[in-house]
Amino acid sequence: MTPAGVLAAGAAGGDLFVAQNVFFGVIALVMIVSAIRCVTTRNVVHAALWLVLVLAGAAAQFILLGSEFVAVTQVLVYIGAIIVLFLFGIMLTKASMGDDDSVAGEKRLMAGLVAVLLAVVMGIALIDSYSDTRVVIDEPQRFAAVSDAIFSQYIVAFEAVSVLLLAALIGAIVVARKE
């Protein structure tokens, strides 16, 4: 069966144990374990590497949903740029090999509370808005459709964001150059 066929079968609500659902579960499990290890490990570099697994899992989920553009952008921007920047910064400043006890963090309780609150609020909001909506995915989303939407329907928003990013870029250079 082609990937599009699997998606169609999944969308039609047929068998629960189609490959797509099974892999969703496997990837979700990997993501959850990595996310927990990311905040419990006492080594900053290890935390960043666990975060790579979480983000790669998110990219894999996007591919399962047929959103190839978002998946590749996830890899390019988050793994290829942001994590590399994290690791680069950590290694330039302080990259101790073993466990770092100063990472233990006395704010663990507060962070946990905020995380639970966020999960509850987002969960309620999502279930409330989308619980009876069925997303029908017949075929993977095409690149051309994404770019057509950006450059016609959302052109004003796109241009506004571009100018904003340019302003931030120039601002960063101005701030960095001032001795």
Partner: protein
């Protein structure tokens, strides 16, 4: 023309593609090491190179692999064992994923969709994480410095590499590498279509930028600050031995082959043979060989430069990327875009 592959079932086609991927990585890496690293450089330096194992030393490579496999797999005492051991696999995974977008013939492709060159650029940046893992995990100052230098260089040269590709994408109107090949095969030069329209003619600036940025991405001399042997032993690879060093080594040469293949597809017409119908079944057989020939040609250029020029200093290296290659690539995009609309 009925293709051979369309008669096979899904798992058969998948097995063929996995096998082809392994062959494409190992065979290309082996050929490049033997033809360029062993023989070409030897001839340039007026010596014979390996001559003992097999005719003209052609089995030297197997002897080297045997040697590396026998060596002890040493992990430094203070190293982070898991990160240290996993690093070469991350780098090699990035190489294999890069291969996925390459077309070798009308039906001989791994995946053929719009992701194309965008996917290639995204997964090529994953190898940086492997290099940082190797640099940090080794718990050695040479490795860490090498890893940081490599990262700074790869980030700097990823930009011109990407921007050089944009010109080709504008001209071909697609990011699908298969369709980029077809656009060149069906193109015409001022109404003369005998050899198609390889984009090296119209995108010559893009080709030069791509080749320079590629040289830097592969950390080949003159861009070999990260592995500068007189300062850093071998940079992030310093602490590796045996099989894991071999993996880094294969990764280095296989990546050189895959990047050259991407350059061949983007600028030299890929698997297409002038005079044949682009849908001809014969090209499924001939195409990979033609692409391989172009890869050998382009990697010859890479290694020619490698063994000819002295090493760049770090500031010269960054200045070349940010003050010369990036503006030139941006100008190329503007000119290509304007001509695309006007002509």
């Amino acid at each position: 023309m009925i293709s051979v592959l369309s008669e096979l079932s899904y798992w058969q086609v998948t097995s063929i593609r996995v096998g082809a991927g392994l062959v494409a990585v190992l065979l290309v890496a082996g050929t490049l090491v033997y033809a360029h690293l062993f023989k070409m450089v030897s001839f340039m330096q007026s010596r014979l190179g390996p001559m003992e194992a097999g005719p003209y030393g052609s089995l030297q490579l197997l002897a080297e692999i045997g040697k590396f496999l026998q060596k002890e797999d040493i992990v430094p005492r203070r190293a982070d064992r898991f990160v240290f051991k996993a690093a070469p696999f991350v780098v090699l995974t990035s190489t294999f994923l890069l291969l996925v977008v390459l077309p070798g013939g009308p039906d001989a492709w791994f995946i053929s969709n719009d992701l194309g060159i965008y996917l290639a650029m995204a997964v090529s940046s994953v190898s940086v994480i492997g290099i940082l893992m190797a640099g940090w995990g080794s718990a050695s100052k040479y490795s860490l410095l090498g890893g940081l230098r490599a990262t700074g260089q790869l980030i700097a040269y990823e930009l011109p590499l990407l921007l050089a590709v944009v010109g080709v994408v504008i001209q071909a109107e697609t990011m699908n590498l298969q369709e980029i090949v077809l656009a060149q095969a069906n193109g015409e030069i001022f109404g003369w279509g005998a050899i198609g329209n390889p984009f090296i003619i119209t995108q010559f600036a893009g080709f030069i930028i791509f080749m320079i940025a590629m040289q830097a991405e592969l950390t080949q001399t003159p861009f070999d600050m990260p592995v500068a042997e007189s300062e850093l032993v071998t940079g992030y690879m310093t602490e590796y031995s045996g099989l894991r060093f071999l993996l880094f080594f294969i990764g280095e040469f296989a990546t050189a082959g895959v990047f050259s293949a991407i350059a061949a597809v983007l600028f030299l017409g890929g698997w297409y043979v002038p005079g044949l119908d682009p849908a001809d079944n014969l090209l499924n057989l001939l195409g990979p060989l033609v692409l391989f020939g172009k890869v050998v040609l382009l990697t010859f250029l890479v290694f020619w430069v490698r063994f000819t020029f002295p090493r760049f200093r770090e500031d010269q290296l960054q200045r070349l990327a940010w003050k010369f290659l990036v503006p030139l690539a941006l100008a190329n995009i503007v000119v290509t875009g304007v001509l695309k609309v006007v002509v």
